[in-house]
């Protein structure tokens, strides 16, 4: 759990307090803290003078606006057909072994979350994953090990 502090205020100052600015504000919180807490959503509702239910309603609609605890690095593995055909299962196995978590879980040190996602637009370079916003493509188990190691050292 994080303290939302001045972030909501900073974001609402930057984007504005109109209803249409809700998405960039929520995206800004996720960018910094990886997920949305109830407190953060209530805070946003107060600043925008709308109901907290509306904020939650919007947030819960979008798969990248997580309302559950997520790690610093969210790994999203594409599970759509081409990535499945080109070795997704091996990639998941490698990630699970390395991070000692299953798909859907977060490591106890809150560094990594492992999730599946729908087509991310790299079918010609399958299998592919996103780590936060960065895509990694044409993966092999060896490549995945190297990539995760580099994140562990960050």
């Amino acid at each position: 759990m994080y303290q939302v502090g001045n972030l909501v205020k900073e974001l609402t100052d930057k984007h504005g307090r109109a209803r249409e600015n809700l998405m960039p504000i929520l995206q800004g919180i996720v960018e910094k803290h990886n997920y949305l807490t109830d407190e953060a959503m209530v805070e946003v509702a107060k600043e925008l003078e709308i109901s907290a239910a509306e904020v939650y309603g919007t947030a819960s609609f979008y798969s990248f606006l997580d309302t559950k605890v997520r790690g610093k690095y969210v790994i999203r593995i594409c599970k759509t057909i081409t990535c499945s055909m080109k070795g997704k299962a091996e990639i998941i196995q490698t990630l699970e072994d390395m991070l000692k978590i299953k798909v859907g879980e977060t490591t106890s040190d809150k560094m990594f979350s492992l999730l599946e996602t729908n087509c991310i637009g790299w079918c010609h370079k399958a299998p592919a994953i996103l780590i936060n916003e960065i895509p990694y493509t044409e993966l092999t188990p060896e490549k995945v090990v190297e990539i995760i190691k580099s994140y562990m050292q960050k």
């Binding site: 998405m23 759509t80 499945s84 087509c119 079918c123 010609h124 370079k125």
Partner: protein, 387 residues
């Protein structure tokens, strides 16, 4: 058949041009002249639905509101489609150029690019290019500004009215139509929403003229198209091809020698089995596509393909209307039951009926098109679904 032209590679979309030249030309044209050029070109929307672009602009231009919008739909989410990312990455100035031309045509001063969250890594570069673009059009005299709105991982937001809802900060749930976007779009103002590739094509039509553009393609499918090619192919990637080829001609070029089916148009598109390769034209006279072309060889189980698509739809259905929400789940559970042998194989016929009902009763294109892949896979590969 007169509308078969064979497979020809084209370089129009990614061709490097001087945008200032084209935009200066467009600036000197009247709104009606621009719209007439686009109408004459026969251009149909490149996102998949294929609505004539000129007509869309004509309707939006007729709107009396002083505030109008040009929205670029860059929420490319159809499984197997990745051409818009490549277009934005390589020639974003042509996308912005198409928006500026559209702004002259319909009389809009504001443009919005809605970019899917999965492509956020492109944003810093795109913003930089946008800044130079704004400087350039200011010099010509355009009164037009473009801004970005980011998606956050929802396939349904590629549906135009869901996309508007998302820009407005709401859940991406499609609206009832009519009213259509040209009367009531984003912020309920007259809006022309166009696909990334459509906007680039517009620039090339203004550059070369409708007559020259008309030489490409067929009567029903004018021009060329950027295809996203993946699956069992030795050459996956992005290729611009003239419209008017058969699936067979396509497979001859991109297949691995063992292609048993091609899924044209992604999960919401149509499955073409080998026996129909020769008779099926890729385009509006045959199987339309937003660009997604997936090849499957004989080592693949079409049950797995269908199951993957249904799982996708069950997750991505926005849940607002019952036929789509419940229908997607029941189709998924249904094929699983048939596969396990829990129900008779004739249960598949009931499921096809359900998919047909969804086509009629669903609120938007998502629920309406689940039946395309379902019916064509079940009809052509029935034994693979059952055994």
């Amino acid at each position: 058949m007169e509308n078969i032209k064979g497979l020809t590679k084209v370089d129009l979309i990614f061709e490097k041009i001087s945008p200032k030249e084209v935009l200066t030309k467009a600036y000197s044209m009247k709104s009606e002249e621009i719209i007439q050029q686009i109408l004459d070109s026969g251009l149909k929307g490149r996102g998949g639905a294929g609505f004539p672009t000129g007509l869309k602009w004509k309707y939006a231009a007729a709107g009396k509101d002083s505030e109008k919008y040009i929205v670029c739909n860059a929420d490319e989410g159809e499984p197997g489609t990745f051409k818009d990312r490549e277009i934005l990455d390589r020639v974003s100035y042509k996308v912005y150029g198409g928006m500026a031309i559209a702004s002259r045509a319909i009389g809009a001063k504001k443009g919005i690019v809605y970019l899917r969250g999965e492509y956020r890594f492109l944003l810093p570069q795109l913003m930089k290019e946008l800044e130079s673009f704004h400087n350039m059009i200011d010099e010509i005299g355009y009164d037009f500004r473009i801004r970005y709105c980011m998606g956050s991982g929802a396939y349904i937001c590629g549906e135009e009215s869901a996309l508007f809802e998302s820009i407005q900060g709401d859940r991406g749930e499609p609206r009832n139509k009519p009213p259509y976007p040209t009367t009531s779009g984003v912020f309920y103002k007259p809006t022309s929403i166009n696909n990334v590739e459509t906007l680039v094509t517009v620039v090339m039509i203004i550059k070369h003229g409708a007559e020259k553009y008309n030489l490409l393609g067929t009567k029903d499918s004018r021009g060329s198209k950027v295809f996203s090619i993946s699956g069992d192919t030795p050459t996956p990637g992005i290729f611009e091809l003239e419209l008017g080829m058969t699936v067979q001609q396509f497979v001859n070029e991109f297949g691995d020698g063992d292609t048993k089916a091609v899924q044209v148009g992604g999960a919401s598109g149509f499955c073409v089995p080998r026996k129909k390769f020769n008779e099926t034209i890729i385009g509006f006279e045959g199987v339309p596509t937003g660009g997604s072309m997936k090849l499957f060889n004989s080592s693949r189980s079409m049950y797995n393909v269908l199951h993957n698509y249904l799982d996708f739809f069950a997750e991505e259905s926005c849940g607002q209307c019952t036929p789509c929400r419940v229908g997607c789940q029941q189709l998924l559970k249904g094929v699983e039951k048939v596969k396990k042998g829990d129900v008779k194989s004739t249960y598949l016929n009931e499921l096809v009926k359900l998919a047909d009902t969804m086509k009629v009763a669903s609120k938007c294109g998502l629920g309406q098109s689940v039946g395309n892949a379902f019916r064509t896979i079940v009809e052509n590969f029935r034994e693979e679904i059952i055994y």
